[in-house]
Each structure stands twice: as C-alpha cells, then as structure tokens.
Symmetry: C2
Subunit: 255 residues, 2 copies
C-alpha cells in the first residue's frame, strides 16, 4: 500500500461564518491538491480568534501531511492568522527580514505604515510564499502553509508554492449523471460498490426542473479498475432507463 497524502484546509474569517461571503477557495485548493495526489481530509471554517486558530492548526497538522490556511494575513486589526500560527507552534513572532525588505521595496516611502509593515511579522523560521500580485508574502512553517483569503491572490500564490508539496498518485475520477432518483439507483449501485471495493462510489442527488437525479462519482487510483467500474455503472443506468451522461478526468480540471 502506497502512502496516501492528506491535507486539512482552514478557512479563517468571520465573514464566511456570517453568511455574507461565499467561500471560493476550498473548491480550488481541493482540486489542485487532488491533482498533486493529496486528498483533503477535512476543511474547517473558523473564527478570527487566536486560540481557536491555534488549536485548529495544531489538531490539523498532527493529523495531516499538510495544513493550508486562507485568510487573516492582511494589515488590519482583525488579521491575526500569523501570530496565531506562531502561538500554535510555540515559536517567537516578529519581523521577518526578507518580508520586511520586500515590502519596503514595494511601497513608496510615504506609504510605509506600521500596519502595512505588520504584514512582515511572522513566526520565527517562516519560509516565504511569494505574492506576485500585491507583494505581501504568505509563509510556510513546518507543514503549515499560510495563504491570503482573496481568491485571485491566493491562487497565484498557491501556484508558486505547489512544488513544495509532495503527493502520491492522483486519484482519478469519472462522473456519470443519471436522470433517475437515488431510490431507483441505490440497490444496483450498492451491489456494484461491493463488486468494485477499490473504487469509491458516491451518489450526489440533485433536484432540477422538478425532477430528482443523481451524479454518480467514481474515484480510484487505478485507471483500469476505474474504467471497468464506470462502464458497469453506465450500463446499470442504461438498464434502469436513466440515460447516462458522463465525463472522464483526472479529477481537477480547473487548469
């Protein structure tokens, strides 16, 4: 059995929990991590609270190969992710010389404020993650990767740090859409799941135009097993009169 790599994603910000902001980072990160052969074991949306963040970071890094955080690394008073990560790891928190230089080089002298420079405060031992958009860097410390919450900036920064992540074989997937309620699919699908134990079969119902249907998603590391199982599931849907439509991909095609 090859090693399976996992990651936990911590989405930090009261705004997502208030319902005002729709998170747009989880789907992106989960897709890209899967491409790298790293499965997201859990995602947590947590409040801007030092102890809550620190506890979540420590729990996540003990249970996963990687922890990625988004949000809370800007210059305002509610940006407390960096100090909370230092607190979690029990390391000193203070000015990072390299980040300091990047910010001083980027801002005009009259724009250099205490608050802006606070974005260069990081846990001791942090390795920077470059920000090609607005310069203020994220950082890595041990297996924790600290990224901003703005999706456009987070994505560019993730691209630049992705090479630091070691993964296993990417999980492959096939999706088959059936115009049938789950109740009609459940018996035969359960039988096929039992026949293909190494192919994870998920059924995700939807409700569209007054009708119930289901997306049947098959995931596996082995391409041949996946293809066999997908053909069997598609045949099952045809036999039930459900007109399967499908897609094949290495999961994660936001590229």
């Amino acid at each position: 059995m090859k090693k399976r790599y996992t990651a936990c994603i911590l989405i930090i910000g009261n705004e997502v929990l208030s319902g005002r902001t729709q998170d747009a980072n989880l789907a992106f990160l989960a897709t890209r991590l899967n491409d790298l052969g790293i499965q997201v074991s859990e995602a947590r949306v947590i409040r801007d609270d030092r102890q809550i963040i620190a506890d979540a970071v420590n729990q996540a890094r003990a249970q996963n190969d990687y922890v990625l955080t988004t949000g809370g690394i800007g210059p305002t008073h509610d940006d407390i992710t960096s100090e909370s990560v230092a607190h979690a790891l029990g390391v000193p928190f203070g000015r990072n010389a390299e980040a300091d230089a990047i910010l001083r080089n980027y801002y005009a002298p009259e724009d250099i404020t205490e608050e802006r420079m606070s974005m260069a405060d990081m846990p001791e031992g942090a390795v920077l993650i470059d920000n090609p958009v607005s310069r203020a860097p994220g950082f890595q410390i041990e297996n924790v990767f600290v990224l901003p919450g703005v999706p456009r900036i987070m994505r560019d920064m993730f691209q630049g740090m992705a090479h630091r992540l070691t993964g296993g074989a990417p999980m492959l997937s096939r999706s088959i859409t059936a115009a049938l309620p789950e109740g009609e699919l459940a018996g035969p699908l359960g039988a096929l799941q039992a026949r293909y134990p190494d192919v994870e079969m998920g059924s995700y119902p939807f409700f569209q135009g007054g009708k119930l249907g289901a997306n049947l998603v098959l995931r596996a590391f082995d391409a041949d097993q996946l293809a066999d199982a997908a053909e069997a599931v598609a045949q099952m849907v045809r036999d039930l009169g459900g007109a399967p439509s499908g897609s094949e991909q290495a999961q994660g095609s936001l590229k």
Copy 2:
C-alpha cells in the same frame, strides 16, 4: 450580558472535499441562523466516515447550542449520516414508525425498495423534520438537526423547522465598501475599532479590475452603536478619498 446562542454546521460529503461540488448550504444556513439570533461558531466539511461524523457531532454539540448537518441521508450506500448520529449519541438505530408511514404513503407499492425504506432508519427518539419536496424526512435528536445536502430541499426543510430554534437578539450589520487598499485603512480603522469595542469591525479585501479595495463590515447587537460606528467609518473612508458605498441590513437578506 444576554445569552449568546451558537451553532456549528457540519457539511458531510466527500464531494465537497474533492473540489467537485461547491457547497451552497453554509451561506444560506449562516444567514438564516443569524436572523434568528444564532451565530455560527464554526463550519466543518467532513468525509463520509462513521467515526469522523460521530466525533464531529459530539464535539460540536458539546460546544454549541445547536448542530446542523447537511448531506448523507439518502438511500445509497454512502448515506451514513443517520447511523453515525445514532452512534454519536449512543442510542439504538432502527426504523422510525412515522417516517416509515410517510414513505409507504408516498411511494407506489412497486417502488418500495429496501434502500428507499432505509431512509426511515433513524436514531431512537428522533423527531422528524418534514420534507415537502421529496418526502423523505430529516430529523432532530437532542440539539442535532439532520438535513439533506440538496440545497433546494434543505432550504424548504429548514424553513419548516426554524421555529424549533431559540435564539437571542439578531446581530445587525452594516457594510461599507472602500476603493482603497487595506494598508491605507488599517491604522484609522484600528483606532475606530478601539473607540467602538462593542462593534465588531472586519475588513475583507478584494481585488477587482487590477485594484485592491476592501469591504468593511460592522456588526453589533445595538442599532444606535452600529449607526454611530458606521458613520464614523464612512467618514474615515471619505477622509482618505475612498468614496464609501454602503448597505444597511439586519444581516441576512436572502429572504
């Protein structure tokens, strides 16, 4: 100090963690709960795994007034939320007579399958949550509310059960958009946060058309304090040349 009510939302499903499905339930539930005077303290996206679900339910219900779960209550083999909740609470899991009757009444005799009827299996002591769309009910047991993952159905079911939730005063909010980078806002905003300690001030940066801006969100229980703070923040943005635009609302206006 009045009691503050909190809820934890558990989003159950490998599909959200794989990145294939974008969760659409958190923002809805968080908004509605806030309207009811209940703050979402945390949201977790977790895998379809019995022990993981049970542990998350137990941790969440110990720390919050309410726990709401979405997903995993359909008829297929990967729908294991109900049995996992029974496992969490240490109560027997079996056929609920009322749910059994609803399903038998709804389906034509030839459509009654073992898998469909499995949707009537619930923890002992469960109180049903009516499903006006596709009939298969959710349930409440103690402070845990078990809802489906299909957004359209989940929403209708939540409406029907919302009266069971007791909350406090709803948090009011004001949002002010500033066409300024956070770095210019951070100092004065921090000073205003110190001046209005009972108004939670959050700054949420965005990147649009190549420019950085920020949504400044003020939240408070007291309408007068909120109005005063919002005027002060708007004036601050005007002073900085950031052309504030704003909105006022009892947070939660998806109605």
